[in-house]
Symmetry: C2
Subunit: 133 residues, 2 copies
């Protein structure tokens, strides 16, 4: 589970939108508020669109909004929208990634850790995160 800059930016972005619900927010505004390079953020928002996390409005006065309630968006969901599934070791994503996984005594540890981390990340939603200060 390594969170790339891209995923971290996505989290910042969703967090900003969660703090500004009920209106349309432009890439430019998010970019400035959350210190994310604008054109990179535009790409990131396209990923979040595909994942159904945000919705967009085109044209002048256009921008983005959350597609769901903040409380229904988890940290895990946003990370996976950007990076796909991840884990501390490849065999915890898919045991077929390592031919040794069948007899490896370390393998179950990675699976267990993955489970625990994902549990924690699923618990964290953006209503919670936006409220905290």
């Amino acid at each position: 589970m390594y969170v790339t800059r891209k995923a971290d930016y996505a989290i910042r972005c969703v967090l900003y939108l969660a703090k500004n619900t009920g209106r349309i927010t432009s890439v430019d505004e998010i970019s400035n508020a959350m210190y994310v390079p604008k054109s990179f953020l535009a790409k990131i928002l396209q990923c979040l669109m595909k994942a159904g996390i945000v919705s967009s409005t085109r044209g002048i006065k256009g921008g983005f909004q959350l597609a769901k309630e903040p409380k229904d968006i988890s940290l895990l969901e946003v990370i996976e929208a950007i990076q796909g599934p991840s884990a501390a070791n490849i065999c915890a994503i898919d045991k077929r990634m390592c031919s040794l996984s069948g007899r490896c005594t370390v393998h179950p540890i990675w699976v267990k850790i993955r489970k625990k981390v994902e549990q924690e990340l699923k618990k964290q939603n953006f209503a919670k995160l936006a409220k905290k200060r």
Copy 2:
């Protein structure tokens, strides 16, 4: 916390040595047994030397041994010997890595996750891992 191939190989290697204590084991033997490219493994063993996890004997009939008892070598220790400190997000390694960390509501989550994962990895020692089947 992403375990690279290099660190995974290191773990395999230490595990093999833990299963074969009391004698000197060559790179070639470990390489064949654990499916690690030989010349890469040689490099990895140099890292493990620096970290004080293994000791070497040069010359013909030379090779490697664990420098400590298997029960005193943790998974975390081996991973850090290869990769240095790691975490799910950069700010959990060093909060100065992100200028937002002071006011970021997500930051504490990464710190908490890191703590939990490292706790788990510290609990796992190579006596335990070598015994398991």
